[in-house]
């Protein structure tokens, strides 16, 4: 078995183990109000962190490019209460147009 196969199978096992263990932790540990509150805030932190990293970084460097313009347009669309698909499509169009010109 070569390294690539180890990478494929190893990461698949690791990811499933992580996910499944999240469902095995007993619910009673999650009824503490403070734990529940923190748990509600965790996706807010992780998802916005993802937005930042995917918008202005590439391979660990800060890069300002068409992605930032696309996400900025999405932000404006959200502020204007645009439907979800309009938010996503407007970001894609902006980014693609800037990339091509």
């Amino acid at each position: 078995m070569n390294a690539l196969w180890i990478g494929v199978i190893g990461s698949s096992i690791a990811l499933f183990t992580l996910r499944y263990s999240g469902y095995l932790i007993p619910e009673k540990y999650l009824t503490n109000p403070r734990m529940l509150r923190i748990n509600t805030l965790i996706p807010v932190a992780l998802l916005t962190a993802l937005v930042g990293v995917q918008t202005v970084t590439e391979k660990g460097s800060w890069i300002i490019d068409q992605r930032l313009a696309g996400v900025a347009v999405a932000l404006i669309a959200l502020m204007l209460k645009a439907p979800y698909f309009v938010v996503v499509i407007s970001a894609a169009l902006t980014s693609a147009l800037l990339y091509r010109f």
């Binding site: 990461s11 748990n39 992780l46 916005t48 930042g52 347009v73």
Partner: protein, 222 residues
């Protein structure tokens, strides 16, 4: 399952398709990094976590060891465990359903579920399952098509997908930012992750924002 909420279904489908389309880029990236079509497709079927998959092919394609690839993928995958913790009390899944729920616990299914909160728990559950299964199907179809030589569409930037994916995440978090504390946390998390990106290895800047969630949640009095 009760009647499917139209808003939830439409949002789930948009997310599934947008994110699934990005699988094309992953398929192409896998081949470019030296993985076979089978290996690339297995990553999408089994690992099924976009960022983690890109990390494995990115790290190993650049000459990194299997251990480095697995470690980076796992670091990026820790958030799936955190999402599972959040989804477990909502889904109450057991047996085989729990296995399937675990496999489709990703940014998008969790995000859509949470953004349905105002529509009730039934809509939250539907959002999770529709989005999780939807992304799974589209992600795998597009991975295969990308891997099978769709080099023409292999450049995500030319199609604006590079901005569509973070915009899709932003649209998911948006309804969650209902008060000052949540908005402050979002801004801090975004800034922290971006600032740490050049310093820490891939995955850690995102995971490190969990500390902020703990701090903010700890101090909150309502």
């Amino acid at each position: 399952m009760s009647r499917v909420n139209r808003t939830t279904a439409s949002q789930s489908l948009s997310v599934s398709f947008t994110v699934g389309l990005y699988g094309t880029a992953f398929g192409a990236a896998g081949i470019a990094a030296g993985f076979s079509v089978l290996q690339t497709c297995l990553l999408s079927l089994l690992a099924f976590s976009g960022a983690s998959q890109f990390a494995v092919v990115g790290v190993m394609g650049a000459g990194g060891s299997a251990i480095a690839g697995i470690a980076t993928a796992s670091l990026l995958g820790v958030r799936n465990m955190l999402y599972a913790l959040r989804m477990a009390p909502l889904l109450h899944a057991s047996g085989f359903r729990k296995v399937i729920a675990a496999q489709v616990t990703i940014d998008e299914s969790t995000g859509v579920a949470l953004s349905q909160e105002k529509l009730g728990t039934a809509a939250m559950k539907q959002g999770f399952w529709l989005t999780g299964v939807g992304v799974y199907i589209f992600w795998n179809i597009f991975t295969l098509s990308g891997a099978l030589g769709a080099q023409a569409m292999g450049n995500p930037s030319a199609w604006g997908l590079d901005a569509a994916v973070p915009a899709a995440f932003l649209g998911l978090v948006w309804p969650r930012l209902t008060n000052k504390l949540e908005r402050a946390l979002a801004v801090c998390a975004l800034v922290l992750a971006v600032l740490l990106s050049p310093v820490l290895s891939a995955g850690l800047p995102i995971i490190s924002t969990v500390v902020l969630a703990v701090i903010f949640g700890w101090k909150l009095r309502t």
